[in-house]
């Protein structure tokens, strides 16, 4: 067993415990229909991981432009992929919650509009990568684009929800900076945030290694 296997095993157990606690240990919140509040343990962490991944992609892109080391391009690409996957997950879980609580899967609430922008902005990143055949040119253009794309992230993720009226429930950390969450829910919520961050780190590591092997194989063919 390598260190990686042990960490992966721990992550598996941790996530299993989080899922169990989210459904069976934490209470359902008042003011929500039925058990619908439990989605907070999954929806918010996916959004958090998406934001974190875009930040990593931004940092890796800056590093690529500074060093021109292709490994930074691999990292930027891997984290942007994770970012878009988790943004899609946040969109889907959010839409399900909207159907239950608001009564509509999609009504172009500011939250829904801003996440659509985010998806389109990062979809363009992959379109750009696909359009440039030369690896070095591709990496440089993608890095510049990823930096510009990340500029919109704080605006779309943090500013829009706080300045527009929305059907979306209040953010966990409210404007007064106080956390208003039941202590059991809060513990599960934090454990889930940690678990999802670990899950993303594992996927990131996996994606980087796969991409490195893929590039190596390509070099051997050429």
């Amino acid at each position: 067993m390598t260190r990686r296997d042990i960490l992966l095993g721990a992550l598996f157990l941790w996530m299993a415990a989080v899922i169990w606690a989210a459904f069976l240990w934490a209470p359902a919140a008042a003011g929500f229909l039925g058990q619908s509040s439990r989605i907070v343990f999954f929806h918010v962490p996916t959004a958090w991981v998406a934001t974190l991944s875009f930040l990593v992609s931004f940092i890796a892109s800056v590093q690529y432009l500074r060093t021109r080391d292709p490994r930074w391009d691999v990292r930027a690409h891997a984290s942007a992929s994770l970012g878009i996957v988790f943004t899609i997950l946040a969109t889907v879980t959010g839409s399900i919650f909207a159907r239950i609580m608001w009564g509509s899967y999609w009504n172009w609430d500011p939250r829904e509009t801003s996440i659509t922008f985010l998806l389109l902005i990062y979809a363009a990143y992959f379109a750009l990568r696909g359009a440039v055949p030369d690896p070095e040119r591709k990496a440089a253009l993608a890095a510049v684009y990823a930096i510009l794309a990340f500029v919109t992230v704080p605006f779309l993720v943090f500013v829009v929800p706080r300045i527009y009226w929305s059907l979306h429930p209040d953010t966990i950390i409210n404007t007064k900076g106080r956390i208003t969450m039941d202590s059991r829910m809060f513990r599960v919520f934090m454990a889930s945030l940690a678990g999802f961050t670990g899950l993303a780190a594992w996927l990131y590591d996996l994606e980087c290694r796969i991409e490195a092997l893929r590039r190596k194989a390509e070099e051997e063919i050429l």
Binding site: A29, G103, P110, F155, V160
Partner: protein
């Protein structure tokens, strides 16, 4: 332009200006288009166009008209103006707890005719049994 350090610095400045411009452009152009919710006046002007109106549900104003199978209630905007809403359809499950609602429909006949009602509940992540200490 032969000095690489100066050239690099110039690129940083150009990049910085481009990013600042991008933010400013984004902030101004998204401002109007990002929210689908219109005010009462705008809803009245839009007439037959389907719009979304958000507002506070005036507590105690909701009543169910048995004959027409309609739910009527008053909505209040941030300026304190009220508007009568007539909703045709099944009452949302959490309507009783609603503080704020979004009515989807169009204005006509002295009231806003809503075909869809979206509900915002004053949800707090507090357990069902525990009373929130404020």
């Amino acid at each position: 332009m032969s000095d690489p350090v100066r050239q690099r610095r110039l690129w940083y400045v150009i990049g910085g200006v481009a990013i600042a411009g991008f933010v400013a452009f984004g902030a101004t152009s998204f401002r109007k288009n990002i929210t689908p919710y219109v005010g009462f006046e705008q809803a009245k002007e839009a007439r037959a166009t389907r719009v979304q109106v958000a507002g506070e549900l005036v507590q105690g104003s909701a009543r169910y008209v048995e004959a027409s199978r309609q739910l009527e209630f008053l909505m209040k905007d941030p300026e304190g103006r009220t508007m009568l809403v007539r909703y045709h359809g099944p009452k949302p499950g959490n309507f009783e707890e609603a503080k704020q609602v979004v009515a989807v429909g169009s204005y006509g006949d002295g009231a806003f005719e809503a075909g869809q009602l979206l509900v915002k509940c004053p949800s707090k992540y507090q357990g069902l049994e525990t009373t929130p200490s404020s």
